[in-house]
């Protein structure tokens, strides 16, 4: 059933599920960000492996080389990496502020504090 020739997609799926699981199951906000990063990286891997052409080399004009990998998905992923970095930066900045405001970065403890706030 499993086609091992497509193992790159299995890697992608494994990473993606790992990332999503970490985001959902961990209460620590930093760990959530790490999960989010793994999740984003899986999509980057997906694009990169999509552009690979078997036996192809880097797309640079040279005598005698006819087979190139598709550079477009690789270029797109440069942008996606920037987006990922920006997301992490904003998320980390928020975590710093949350730590200052609540004194904790554990989701369940924050929820307790917020619950007390609401009941008063």
């Amino acid at each position: 059933m499993i086609e091992w020739g497509l193992y790159n997609y299995w890697v992608v799926i494994f990473l993606m599920m790992t990332g999503l699981y970490v985001v959902i199951s961990r209460g620590n906000l930093i760990k959530k960000i790490i999960g989010l990063n793994i999740f984003q990286v899986s999509v980057i891997m997906f694009y990169i492996s999509m552009g690979k052409v078997k036996g192809g080399t880097a797309p640079i004009l040279e005598e005698g080389v006819r087979v190139y990998s598709n550079p477009l998905p690789h270029v797109l992923m440069l942008t996606a990496i920037v987006v990922g970095v920006a997301t992490s930066a904003v998320a980390l900045a928020l975590v710093v502020r949350i730590k200052e405001a609540y004194g904790t970065i554990e989701e369940d403890e924050i929820r307790v504090i917020e619950g007390e706030e609401e009941s008063t």
Binding site: A91, L94, R97, I110, E114
Partner: protein
């Protein structure tokens, strides 16, 4: 001089829609003074409205505008492509940006420290850049990039709220928004795998040739779920109530009227221009998924709204319900239904932005948006409260308001599709809106203000003006529908008919 300038820029209007706010955002950081930054933002935002109006006029007279960015020929380079659909959305987005800015200095002063205002305008303009970019672009990957620009700046804007809950709300939105954005990216990747192109028109044509296959189905699923998170489609709306409640009042007004609307536009664009009616609805039965969800959203949103004591949160849940109406229009997949969905983008932006500005005024004068703060406001802030009543009537869908126009087309669409129970459900869910709007109206007019309460005066003119511009709009466009419905129905015809 002016002629020379016009000749220079008149071909580049679509690109200016993105470039101007982006450049102005950096200018805001340089000037540092809050009034100067506000002036820069105002200049650019109203310029963008004029620009959007010219673009809409041009699309109406000469047809779709295609602009090759950087002069690279179209299927290879990035295209900015504006047809009736995004010309309308562009006008909504820029219009809301500009009108909300009018109220920003007064309302922000109560919630954000003054030395941070210039940064606020910077981020505001960046968010506008992302939203306008998503709307004008004709390139699927570009949509993702602009989506992230607008989302990242939206997280920053929301986190400026005056309580610490704003921080956790922004973080929650960030986690969900990033998952949504990444899902869209994944879907676009799969489309690229099957077709080898990222240009939206090209994608549509090639997908029609390729026909249905499993990769395309998975792409459709990822994009629908991703856009669903972004537009807060029930049950993916978890981030929305907190984000709207704890954000600064003007940010709520801005985000509520633009971010979800543009996300809806993206979903419509993907479903109707790329997958097209045959593939999305006849082969893959997207309507069977979206229709029940939309109806559930209409009821769940309204029912929860009834039990909210914070009016800001109540309107946030009402947004969830209204998004249900829009998605219902999309999933009916006929001309009237889609017209209803699209015109509701325009109409809901008017009324929700107006209503959130009412809350901004109430917050400014009473210091709270909880229902107790509304006691006696009918007499103490008559103009503000009258705006709430008119906006509320529009939410319900009373004739002569814009809410009626959208619901009329949605009901027609449901009947066209032969789904009369759906038409009935639209009317029933409107009754729920009566309940939650009436609660506030009752408190405002019939509950006396608490004894010993401080005197509350009418809202300042700078908040009243934008509020009434929008609320007045809900009545004007409820009576004269040629602009909103005219453009929306032409766009719906184009999307359904022209695509085959």
């Amino acid at each position: 001089m002016i002629h020379a300038l016009w000749a220079m820029i008149s071909d580049d209007l679509p690109a200016l829609q993105i470039a101007m706010p982006l450049l102005a955002a950096t200018l805001c950081i340089i000037v540092r003074r809050r009034w100067a930054a506000w002036a820069v933002a105002m200049f650019v935002a109203w310029g963008a409205v004029a620009n959007a109006a010219v673009i809409l006029h041009r699309v109406l007279t000469t047809g779709t505008i295609s602009y090759a960015e950087g002069g690279w020929p179209v299927p290879w380079g990035i295209e900015l492509r504006i047809d009736l659909l995004n010309a309308l959305v562009l006008l909504v987005v820029t219009g809301v940006c500009a009108i909300v800015l009018l109220a920003a200095p007064r309302s922000l002063a109560a919630e954000v420290p003054e030395e941070k205002h210039y940064l606020f305008y910077t981020v505001y303009l960046l968010c506008m850049t992302g939203l306008a970019g998503m709307t004008v672009t004709g390139d699927a990957f570009n949509i993702f990039v602009f989506l992230e620009i607008s989302s990242l700046s939206a997280y920053a804007l929301i986190s400026q709220g005056s309580t610490r809950r704003a921080l956790t709300s922004a973080f929650q939105y960030l986690v969900m928004g990033t998952i949504g954005g990444t899902f869209i990216l994944l879907g676009i990747g799969m489309l690229y795998m099957t077709t080898g192109t990222l240009n939206i028109v090209d994608l549509g044509n090639r997908l029609a040739e390729v026909g249905p296959n499993r990769t395309v189905l998975v792409a459709l699923a990822f994009i629908t779920v991703g856009a669903g998170i972004k537009l807060a489609l029930f049950p993916l709306h978890i981030w929305l109530p907190n984000a709207y409640t704890y954000a600064p009042a003007v940010v709520t007004a801005f985000i509520a009227a633009t971010a979800t609307k543009v996300a809806y536009y993206v979903l419509v664009r993907f479903v109707y221009s790329i997958f097209r009616v045959d593939l999305a609805f006849e082969v893959h039965r997207l309507d069977a998924v979206l229709l029940p969800i939309a109806i559930a959203a209409m009821f769940a949103g309204s029912l929860v709204a009834i039990y909210q004591d914070d009016i800001k949160r109540m309107l946030a849940y009402s947004s969830v319900a209204q998004i249900g109406y829009m998605v219902l229009g999309l999933s009916l997949a006929n001309e009237h239904g889609l017209t209803g969905g699209l015109v509701h983008v325009f109409n809901h932006a008017l009324m929700k932005c107006g209503l959130f500005l009412v809350l901004a005024a109430v917050l400014l004068r009473t210091g709270s948006t909880r229902i107790e703060a509304f006691a006696g406001l009918g007499r103490r802030m008559p103009l503000t409260f009258a705006a709430f009543v008119v906006g509320g009537l529009s939410l319900i869908g009373v004739p002569l308001t814009v809410g009626f126009v959208s619901k009329w087309y949605l009901v027609l669409g449901a009947l066209d599709a032969g789904l009369w129970p759906v038409a009935l459900l639209i009317l029933l869910s409107s009754l729920l809106a009566v309940v939650y709007v009436w609660r506030v109206v009752e408190v405002g007019y019939f509950t006396p203000p608490p004894a010993g309460a401080e005197a509350v005066t009418e809202a300042p003119f700078s908040v009243l003006l934008p509020m009434w511009l929008l609320i007045g709009g809900t009545v004007v466009f409820g009576v004269f529908t040629s602009l909103s419905v005219g453009v929306a129905s032409a766009a719906a015809r184009m999307l359904i008919g022209g695509a085959s």
